[in-house]
């Protein structure tokens, strides 16, 4: 069979590079059309425009992905500096803004990482747009919905395609805005509007940290580039061809990813400066002078972790995501499960070459991720709202991704991101389908018995449940357990305890995941129809809703190929997964730098299969426990009150460990009191009364005095003009005489 068409770019890479902006512009244009003309165009055309723009974006993304993936230069390793070259499409539309020596470009690029994200965002995005056309068919605000959804796509694609942190931040804020707009989509209900605000403010906290991290990074990189004694800045900023792109810019600014990667190359080098290279030396100039590079980078990544935690709903900023379920279900699927909330993971992976310089930051990331994974899974135990269960499950799964990033297992985190987008998208869309067929009922105790009435939805939800639980022939198994396996064998220098600890916490979390997901499935889909159900008989949704479910479910199965160990062999004979090989050009640098910087040491590769066996056992145990409790124990005890201990534990869990109340007491109330005080004294007293009122009062008094100059006599005015003229003439003569 002729396979050359696979290893050759389908579209001209130069042309693709020059037109990368279209991937963003198409959904943005769709948003404009839907938002401005949507009401006039009518439902059919809005659906058409919204879906077509995303589909076109998806097609372009496929070409870009294929061009990146198929290029044969991927594995080339030039001997010059030992950096594996990698291929990326890259377009630069000039300087966006400039301040002193700082500049940011309007640059986009597609390397293996952003190509992967592109496929997820546009692919899942298109399916969910399609789904939404049916889901929102009775909503009067359909045009607003699609305008927001398209705007979200444009922002998310900006985030993914940006080749520098500043542009990424634009997308980052854009998706935050769209998330806010869509959570509060049904804003006439005050609770929804509050949920939107909560999400926005929790994200603000993170964004603030992210901004601080960027500023610190600018100072650090600029100080390094300008420091006397280092290599000339020209060499530093000019491309050393670590990344091979079609459009090279000479000085892309300090926050460009290529520059940051280049910066990272210098950090561990020159071992003469001590065992940890540049990391142990002081920054010589600038505001950060006197602090070592290593400490500064640790601070940068702790702040960046806080930013990522805000967007990706990690401890301690996760509280907004469960409330975000107030939005329409497709939104929950697209924004709050598949794409936006993974932005934090993407960001940290994007920064991987620098992140590995700081074992302390990596350990923090791993611990935060592991704790979140377990903690959210525990809360999910007692939630009766199907969407809330899925929301906590999302938080938990994002925790696994952070865990993977934290132990330097970047490709695993990205693989889990991809599979999670598929199966969690499928779960949310199935939940939406359930709500669609059951008059918006989300309480799993009031559903039941949907297996007979909604066979397709049940099947898809079941497959996705098995995938997230980690049953063997499904993608979730390898993506999650690859991460756990990686965690067990990662050795963070100085933090050796982290690997095994997060492995243990993560495994416990996996057990809980199996339990709560099985519980949700069993209660909602099997057994008898609940007596409290809103409608006596549910109906299966139409094909527009079912088709995306089926596709996503199929992908949840098919993606196992990328996590299956041993499909490929590394040059040294160790097994390698497809995903690892695919992302090697991106993360290979990080892996090599980690060893050079002596921060993350790989252990001798052990067979993953025993670990996988344990994981499978845990998954079956969790699922079995759920089945035993909810199919055997509870039905048998029906009517009898639960023992008090369990009731208390349950109440504690149902109330989400009282974290919202804790935040309310510790943060929200004091800030509110302070704000009220400030409002009364500073705002009302000082600004309103003294400044604004005072200015008006003084102006009015002066005016009422000066108005008597307005005699209404035209000659008086003319006389004043004459006096003015006299003053002018006098001044001119005085000036001339003074010379």
């Amino acid at each position: 069979m002729d396979t050359t068409w696979l290893t050759k770019a389908w579209a001209n890479p130069q042309a693709l590079s020059a037109n990368l902006w279209l991937i963003i512009a198409l959904p943005a244009f769709g948003a404009l059309v839907c938002g401005v003309f949507g009401r006039a165009l009518g439902r059919t055309y809005v659906n058409l425009v919204a879906c077509a723009s995303v589909l076109a974006s998806f097609c372009l993304s496929v070409f870009a992905f294929q061009a990146v993936a198929a290029d044969p230069s991927v594995i080339v390793t030039p001997a010059a500096n030992g950096v594996p070259m990698r291929f990326a499409l890259s377009g630069d539309w000039g300087v966006w803004f400039q301040a002193g020596s700082f500049s940011a470009h309007l640059g986009l690029w597609v390397d293996h990482l952003s190509a992967t994200m592109l496929m997820v965002v546009t692919g899942v995005g298109f399916l969910i747009h399609l789904y939404s056309t049916a889901y929102m068919e009775h909503d009067a605000g359909y045009w607003r919905f699609f305008a927001y959804l398209n705007l979200f796509m444009a922002s998310m694609l900006t985030l993914v395609l940006a080749d520098n942190l500043v542009l990424l931040f634009v997308g980052w804020e854009g998706v935050g805005l769209c998330s806010y707009l869509l959570i509060g989509f049904w804003y006439t209900d005050a609770a929804n509007a509050w949920a939107g605000r909560k999400a926005f403010i929790a994200n603000r906290v993170g964004d603030c940290a992210f901004l601080l991290a960027m500023m610190l990074l600018v100072l650090t990189v600029t100080a390094f580039a300008k420091a006397p004694g280092t290599e000339p800045p020209a060499v530093f900023f000019a491309q050393r061809r670590a990344v091979w792109t079609h459009a090279a810019t000479s000085e892309p600014g300090p926050l460009n990813f290529k520059v940051l990667e280049e910066f990272a190359q210098y950090m561990p080098a020159n071992l003469a400066m001590g065992s940890r290279g540049m990391l142990g030396t002081d920054i010589p100039i600038g505001p950060l002078a006197g602090h070592t590079y290593g400490h500064t980078l640790t601070l940068v990544f702790l702040l960046m972790l806080l930013g990522a935690a805000g967007k990706s709903a990690q401890l301690p900023l996760y509280v907004w995501l469960p409330d975000a379920m107030a939005g329409p279900t497709p939104v929950s699927a697209l924004i709050h499960a598949a794409t936006m909330v993974t932005a934090g993971v993407y960001l940290l992976c994007r920064m991987a070459p620098l992140l590995v310089m700081s074992p302390a930051a990596m350990a923090t990331v791993a611990v935060v991720g592991a704790l979140t994974a377990l903690y959210a899974a525990l809360i999910a135990f007692a939630q009766d709202d199907l969407k809330k269960v899925l929301a906590y499950s999302t938080i938990s799964q994002l925790g696994y991704m952070f865990l993977g990033v934290g132990v330097g297992f970047f490709w695993g985190a990205i693989l889990h991101l991809v599979t999670h987008a598929c199966f969690k998208g499928c779960l949310f869309l199935s939940a939406g389908s359930v709500m669609h067929g059951n008059d918006n009922e989300v309480n799993i105790k009031k559903l039941g018995g949907l297996r007979k009435e909604m066979p397709w939805t049940t099947a898809c939800f079941g497959i996705a449940t098995l995938a997230i639980t980690g049953i063997i022939p499904l993608s979730g198994f390898f993506s999650k357990d690859d991460i756990l396996h990686g965690a067990l064998h990662a050795r963070l220098v100085g933090y050796e305890w982290v690997g095994p600890t997060v492995f243990a916490i993560g495994s416990l979390g996996a057990l809980c995941t199996a339990f709560y997901m099985s519980r949700a499935y069993l209660l909602a889909f099997t057994g008898e129809r609940s007596k409290d159900a809103k409608v006596p008989h549910a109906h299966e949704s139409g094909w527009v809703i079912v088709a995306p479910l089926v596709i996503l479910a199929a992908l949840s199965i098919a993606l196992i190929s990328h996590g299956f160990p041993g499909l490929l062999k590394m040059p040294n004979g160790e097994p390698e997964t497809l995903m690892e090989a695919f992302l090697k050009p991106v993360f290979g640098v990080a892996d090599r730098l980690a060893i050079e910087a002596h921060s993350l040491l790989p252990e001798a590769e052990r067979s993953p299969w025993p670990g996988f066996g344990i994981a499978l056992l845990l998954a079956w145990a969790g699922g079995g426990a759920a089945w035993y409790l909810y199919k055997r124990v509870f039905p048998a005890r029906a009517g009898k009150p639960a023992p008090e201990v369990f009731a208390a534990v349950r109440a504690f869990t149902v109330h989400k460990f009282y974290v919202d109340e804790l935040y309310d007491a510790v943060l929200v109330r004091p800030i509110k009191l302070l704000s009220i005080g400030l409002f009364r004294v500073v705002d009302e007293g000082l600004i309103d009364t003294v400044l604004v009122g005072g200015t008006a009062w003084v102006t009015a008094r002066i005016g009422s005095l000066l108005r008597y100059l307005q005699t209404g006599d035209v000659q008086a005015y003319a006389a004043m003009m004459a006096v003015g003229l006299l003053a002018g003439v006098g001044y001119a003569i005085f000036e001339a005489l003074a010379k």
């Binding site: 108005r707 008597y708 307005q710 005699t711 209404g712 006599d713 035209v714 000659q715 006389a719 004459a722």
Partner: protein
């Protein structure tokens, strides 16, 4: 052909005196019509300056400026006198001291 030996300075002095005479009329006369005439005097003083400078530099552009001033003066006289007529019809006077409704 010779330029007359009168210095440009003299013309400028004449123009300045004419201008200030007009200004005095604008500032002290109460009859709106006389005020208008004084304004015409001032405009002519400006014209004289233009023409003197034009001769000094042998540049006929100054003549054009004077031409435009004359045209604008014609327009101004037409409108101004129409206003005087309208005011007189309404108030029975053209005394600028009696027309001061736009006061505090």
């Amino acid at each position: 052909m010779q330029i007359s030996p009168v210095d440009t300075q003299n013309y400028l002095l004449l123009a300045a005196t004419l201008f200030c005479t007009g200004m005095l009329g604008v500032l002290v006369r109460r009859n709106a019509l006389v005020v208008f005439m004084s304004i015409e005097l001032m405009l002519n003083a400006a014209n004289l300056t233009f023409l003197a400078a034009a001769r000094e530099r042998l540049d006929a552009t100054g003549h054009l400026a004077a031409l435009f001033v004359i045209a604008v003066a014609a327009a101004e006289a037409a409108i101004g006198l129409a206003i005087v007529i309208a005011v007189f019809r309404n108030r029975g006077t053209v005394n600028v001291e009696d027309i001061r409704t736009m006061k505090y």
